[in-house]
Symmetry: C2
Subunit: 298 residues, 2 copies
């Protein structure tokens, strides 16, 4: 039974996740990457060590949740990194959303060092992190997954083992593909309905009961109609995820035509200064192409 | 209060809809377009007249639900058609899914003949028609919509007034855009996850809890994984609807890039003899492009 968890990345997602681990009775160890842990984590008893190597030696489970592939590689393989610690019998879990190819390499390296590795990215955002209702998609060895369950259960609700090394990242990117392309779909549909004289709010209502219903139509469709584009999940970040999708597709020799199209529409949004709006603002790329705005009438 | 309803188009959708009207106490009149009404409708008391003109004169509300734009135009404006009947004070409701431009013209013609007109296409398919749970999206005059409510209520559940003449067709096509593009999105996501080594069934399960969740992921995602492509809703018919979308977009000067892409993928399916499979078989166009099948492993 693991008792001491090393936690690297106390950002918008990581801070509430670490707090839930402390609340669940785990000893949590961190180190200062950018800024020290906030007061509430200190009050809950988080310990601070000098670097990731010491952290890895002090803990039996090491969790990372940092912004991008480069950050994960640095914290794992860089000077003073996790992989320089004593990893025999340890479990390393990367919960960041990063490239799959590098993730598979991390699995192999950890294995050579005597540790198990899981890629376990999350969805559900800041709200899910705070409420401990994150969806967690884990790839790697299934025994390691079972070992991680008490930890995952403290932070998430819908926890799924999806396959071998890298499968968690594949699932997370699949999630981001569906979310982006469904936003695009809802954008085209509302633009069409609006231009042809229907009331987009009533159309959204009419469609919510049937086969077209989705969380995206409910939440992002409403944002497109009410013009509420404050983030939310930023276009900048979603473009990164679709970039990972296209990179993975290219590496594995498959073709994702609508993902490529939607990536380009996000590029167009960013060209017009919308990088930090919510991803529902993707509709603005369609609106610009069509010289018509959802809700402006025929 | 309307008592006598003329009903034209007793096909897979129309027959159960007419039965619900008879059950609700309406007198229903029809004429023989292709084959006489089936025994169960005869037992419920459906009356048969010689043609649509007589039908229009005998009823106060006339409903049409036929396959395509040409069918609606023929039954309305052709010899022995609805518009040759006495239409003063009558209500004509077209519940077919057809082109919006022609629908707007039908509104105008009916108005000149002293009748109100509604375009009120449905979604929910054969199952919804039988269970009287259809979604009905109506466009036209709002007073006419209120007049039609007792009739709509006998056949559907989610009944929405979406705007002026043609707005019902616009909403229905918007529905078909979302459904097609979400199927495409789920197809790309499951193909990606499968090729990168995740178990597509587990990925679908993991994604169902979150922002990627939709009726399409639930139903059509399952079909893609279990390879259950029996119809369902045929690709042939969905391609027709996306054709209406592109036709409407062109006529109104807007751009629907993902709708166009998905229309082409349906063309590719049809080129490979899949026209009569369920629209979830759209994934096969992606699979052919990528030389990989969802579920076959890496």
């Amino acid at each position: 039974m693991d008792k001491v968890v090393g936690f690297i990345g106390l950002g918008i997602m990581g801070a509430p996740m670490a707090a839930h681990l402390l609340d669940a009775g785990f000893d949590v160890v961190t180190f200062v990457r950018r800024s020290p842990p906030d007061d509430s984590l200190v009050r809950k008893g988080i310990r601070v060590v000098a670097n990731a190597t010491e952290l890895a030696s002090a803990a039996t489970v090491i969790i990372t949740i940092v912004p991008d592939t480069a950050d994960v590689l640095l914290v794992m393989k860089g000077e003073g990194g996790v992989f320089a610690g004593n990893l025999t019998g340890k479990l390393v879990i990367d919960m960041s959303s990063i490239a799959q190819a590098e993730t598979v390499e991390l699995h192999e390296t950890a294995l050579r060092l005597g540790a198990a590795f899981l890629d376990a990215p999350v969805s559900g955002g800041e709200v899910g992190a705070k409420a401990a209702t994150l969806s967690i998609m884990a790839g790697g060895d299934e025994t390691a997954f079972q070992r991680a369950m008490p930890i995952f259960s403290a932070m998430g609700k819908n926890i799924t083992y999806v396959g071998g090394p890298g499968a968690g990242q594949a699932a997370k990117i699949a999630n981001q593909i569906i979310v982006a392309l469904t936003i695009e779909a809802v954008g085209e549909a509302l633009l069409f309905a609006s231009k042809l004289g229907a009331d987009p709010a009533r159309v959204r209502q009419a469609l919510m009961g049937g086969l077209a219903s989705s969380r995206i139509l409910e939440l992002h469709g409403d944002r497109m109609i009410s013009r509420t584009f404050s983030p939310g999940f930023r276009i900048r970040l979603h473009r990164k995820d679709l970039g990972l999708a296209l990179q993975g597709a290219k590496a594995h020799g498959i073709s994702l035509p609508a993902t490529a199209l939607t990536h380009e529409l996000m590029n167009s949004c960013i060209a017009h200064g919308l990088a930090d709006l919510d991803h529902s603002a993707l509709v603005q790329a369609l609106e610009r192409m069509s010289n018509h705005t959802v809700g402006e009438g025929q």
